[in-house]
Symmetry: C2
């Protein structure tokens, strides 16, 4: 078979490949992750590359994705183009999944810091006691003699009884196999790593000397779009690093449905599972290296994700979740060794996964409820987590109901031509005054697109400035040089080509606006349906917590003004960022918190909106800015 | 490297080997197990082969093991002889470890049958309820719908709560990963395999349809010399097959001490561990095949062995057991998957190991106490287990004390030129009347040697017939053509060359008699020391149970008459065969029995005889037939 070299620009990565593989496969081999939402089926048109030298063998059917100009300039779809020559290929910024970049430039920008959570608890609310799911204890054991020749493990548990809370201990075989040598090699001064398992102590590891200063854990938010990890010092509870990357499962489908189809219809669960394991291993490795922590000192992981992500994480088939009656394999996940799913931390390190409630209400939302503390207090509160799915919880310390609605990826930057995730260069704030558009980007970089919070601002500013009508259609009577028609569709230009990173205008079209209105409509209809279901009005909600990956911050008044969030006093609304991650961290650092999450999952009643007749009417009523029923948004007044 | 063929006669197995390997290695490669008590160090002289064609390269130092005649006839030590030519080699019967043969010809001959145990319990004593450590349950689950879309695992545990005794269940990851497909592929009619683990249910396997008729377990006695397995139907509790083989660890040393030296001083734990795993896998495979049982339907193993065997079984180092203060890694073994140590049964099958008490009082003796039921009743009873170690337990339902003494392998056929294990062709009964020797062999075969019960008979008959004196020396004044002098030592011939399988006389020498007296002395001294330690006399013992691998049966009066067993009414003495195996089977078929064994292990107090000053005096006093203190054996009168 012929061999060719492919050079990927601008980084000039050169790789030798066989002639039968695609440019997408070649890029993967070179360690470059190309956007591929459809999983390489030539359907999404995201994996655009420019061949600048050599002859590639492009699939003719792919030309529909390109303009004549683009075809002449060598644009191809990476997944539909085979290597048949030595090639030099340019990867346009938009085609690149910028792994590792999301949070590198400041976790504080994109994700709620631990301290923020304490603020949510108003300082005086009870905080879970510090009691990590896995911890270390240093022991100085008496040396055995003929009068005291108890077995090695009895000698250890005897001492542990004095200081640790368990009457009984179990021990893993691997640990037991090394025990005798460890104790003697280290003069009976050892550090024991142990967890709680089914109510008893579980001894995981015996180390020489006092290593109790080196104990770390990972809190992981396994999002459909993004995987984020915090590295936590389990001696102090302090977060010492945070890192995120795009969920590599994106190559098998952008949303959970297409990933389930990939795993189930094609029967390819393993690669989808492995993708997220690679995510976690890469992030964990990078976090450990940057913070001078040994991977072997990472002894615990708590992961939170939606039910489908949790199933993929544990290599369990999600296939019965996909189809009616939507049944998951399990909602409570067993405590396992991280190695059992290929996660590379300490060999005896433990993986716990936050419990789910139902197929479409997952551990991420349970973790969110845990994080905002709404299940601990008598006041009735509401959590709105806007991700690819919108999930809503209402309740207090006595009852909890929840539901979910497919919001689509609009607020995470999907579906819109200029949409992007909340990473460097994303426009996150927009103001329009007298036809002048001003914006702010993440990392103060040249704009590359618009993230969720920017899109909310854009919709609000356009309707408030009468650039669009309340039904989302452009107001053609208002003349503006920013309103242009392209390929038969009206678009509003937010950033001119000379302002942007890509040299292309950042704009938003009428159909994209319609998409965003559908997303906000689905979320609001879900909130309204759930409030109605429990026989309440919005006034009864003491606090609304808004969580999600919109961006660094969310302009609450604008989110209300477009009809995404109920119109209550803004002082009673808090944006809490990535509450799934915060909840995972709480569980990691507190067994009572983790056990509380199991109680939350058991207590919560899921309302299947697909079975709840009024939902569709609510959805249709919400396809208007802010809403067809203006009385629901009394404070919202657009400029005349 | 030159290649040669070696032909092993009489089976004519031909194997091609490199020139640098020994005949012992070549035999191993050919699947023939040669006796090698020293582990191939040229020390024991057991691996004698006769080279009948071709030139072998024998170590000169090995010639001390052979007579001039033998050297001329091509006798060599297999471990000290390299292959340097195409060879034809004859394996003399004595050099061959007849794997698989021990029990093939009738378990009833060598080992106590289950029914026997019930007899020990006198019919009216409580028997442990039938409740196997792992079992199957057939469930017909309601098909999920939108009103009832509980997770798959909840659907199963919901049904199990109705019929099985656990409030909570845990499930292995592997089982969970296959659950969803299994349920749907099999129309919600499935069989669940589950165990008890730390007080909660542990779901191990979900199978299609009703497989509850196919559930089997293995009870394993891991003896230092012999590994014996019973295949048990876990639906009925019936033993459907039994098989034994020599412990393959023998190649690394005959006794536990030399195996520990091999594992610890040479740092080679792995091969010693693997040897017993090969034993178990071979026996399990053969048992399954013969009884038309699928290996996948074997879902549980309970193994009992001494503490060192249990450590080897679990691949745990026994190195701290060997040296003062004799500390084991653990005495209670974790419930593990059998696969974790390489045992090939059902992938999710469980291995439980009977708990030990101390380094030299193991799970075999705990299993024995369980089997004879002495820990359940107020009467004070005694268990004597004579193996390579002699182990003694005295006690009742309130207290239990135990000790062990090194008896040596004499009663298992070791150490004596004509000694052999209790297998086909072993002389197991002997009578001498008026100089006429009559005997019975196992399997009614031509005699090949003498096993433990035969040796006890031999000593008794010789002292009763004044062939030897009470100090074990030959009475040279009694003239007999059976008393001959060979290589400077007197020997008594029990079987003439023309009667035997090997064509060589079966005889017993003065030094071998001294060895047997030492063994019986050690066992009796241990019994006497322990009875004294608790301040008792033999009269207080309600029953003495005698266990061990002497042979098919034990002549109790003769065992008393040589001073091995205390001189109490023979009606109060019962030979119970392999009580370790019986106890393992009880634990396999009854969780309450297994839990009782944990209680027995906790309750039992070990007396270290090496610390107990009177023991050595007792030992010296017992080096006489029946004893230097005749008052201890009032009923013993040798013929005048």
């Amino acid at each position: 078979m012929a061999k060719y070299t492919v050079t990927f620009s601008p980084e000039n990565k050169i790789i030798e490949v066989d002639s039968d593989i695609t440019l997408l496969q070649a890029a993967e081999k070179a360690g470059i992750i190309i956007n591929s939402l459809c999983g390489g089926d030539g359907l999404c048109g995201e994996c655009r590359l420019q061949v600048i030298q050599g002859k590639a063998m492009a699939d003719k059917n792919a030309i529909s994705f390109f303009s004549k100009d683009e075809i002449e300039h060598g644009y191809v779809l990476a997944c539909r183009t085979k290597v048949a020559d030595n090639l030099v290929v340019l990867i346009p910024p938009k085609s690149r999944v910028e792994q590792e970049k999301i949070l590198l430039e400041g976790a504080a920008i994109s994700y709620g810091e631990p301290e923020k959570l304490v603020l949510h608890r108003n300082g005086h609310e009870p905080v879970f006691p510090f009691d990590p799911v896995v911890k270390k204890i240093y022991l100085e054991l008496p040396v055995p003699n003929l009068e005291d020749n108890a077995s090695d493990i009895d000698r250890i548990t005897r001492e542990m009884h004095k200081v640790a809370p368990y009457d009984h201990y179990e021990i893993s075989l691997l640990c037991l196999q090394n025990l005798t040598e460890q104790l003697r090699a280290h003069h009976w001064k050892v550090t024991v790593t142990y967890a709680r398992h089914n109510g008893i102590g579980r001894i995981l590891q015996i180390e020489a000397g006092d290593t109790s200063d080196q104990q770390y854990g990972l809190a992981v938010d396994v999002g459909t779009t993004t995987v984020v990890i915090q590295l936590v010092n389990l001696k102090t509870g302090k977060v010492i690093g945070v890192k995120g990357s795009h969920n590599l499962q994106a190559r098998y489908g952008e949303d959970v449905i297409s990933r389930m189809i990939f795993a189930c219809v094609r029967g390819s669960l393993a690669p989808v599972h492995q993708a997220v394991i690679i995510n976690i291993n890469n992030l964990a490795h990078a976090l450990a290296a940057e913070n001078h922590v040994s991977i072997q000192d990472i002894i615990a992981i708590v992961a939170a994700g939606n039910t489908i992500m949790s199933h993929f994480l544990l290599n369990m088939t999600p296939c019965s979740i996909r189809l009616e009656p939507y049944v998951p394999t399990t909602t409570v996940y067993p405590q396992i060794f991280a190695r059992e799913v290929g996660i590379k931390i300490n060999t005896e390190g433990i993986l716990e996964v936050a419990p789910s409630i139902a197929s479409y209400v997952g551990g991420d939302i349970v973790a969110g409820v845990l994080a905002c503390g709404m299940a601990d207090k008598p006041e009735i509160r509401c959590l709105i987590d806007v991700g690819t799915n919108g999930e809503i919880v209402i309740g207090n310390n006595e009852w909890l109901v929840c539901c979910s609605a497919s919001a689509g990826p609009a607020f995470e930057g999907g579906g819109a031509h200029s949409g992007m995730r909340a990473t460097k260069g994303a426009i996150e704030k927009i103001e329009i005054r007298d036809g002048v558009v001003s914006y702010e980007t993440i990392g103060k970089a040249k704009p590359r697109g618009i993230c969720g919070s920017g899109l909310i601002d854009a919709i609000y500013e356009m309707v408030n400035n009468r650039i669009i009508e309340q039904d989302g259609k452009f107001n053609e009577s208002e003349k503006s040089d920013r309103l242009v028609r392209e390929a038969g569709e009206l678009r509003y230009i937010l950033a001119w080509p000379d302002e942007t990173e890509t040299g292309q205008a950042i704009s938003i079209s009428e159909s994209e606006i319609a998409n965003l209105i559908k997303s906000k409509g689905a979320v609001f209809a879900a909130i309204k349906s759930l409030v109605d279901y429990v026989g309440f009005s919005f006034d009864r909600l003491d606090t609304i917590y808004v969580a999600g990956g919109f961006g660094s911050s969310l302009n609450i008044p604008k989110a209300i003004a477009i009809g995404l969030i109920p119109d209550i006093d803004v002082k009673r609304i808090q944006f809490i960022g990535n509450s799934s991650l915060t909840g995972a961290r709480l569980s990691l650092t507190s067994i009572p918190a983790f056990e509380n999450s199991l109680k939350i999952a058991r207590r919560m009643t899921n309302v299947e909106l697909s079975n709840y007749a009024p939902f569709m009417n609510e959805f249709i009523a919400a396809l208007f800015l802010p809403h067809t029923d203006a009385k629901l948004f009394p404070s919202v007044k657009y400029s005349p």
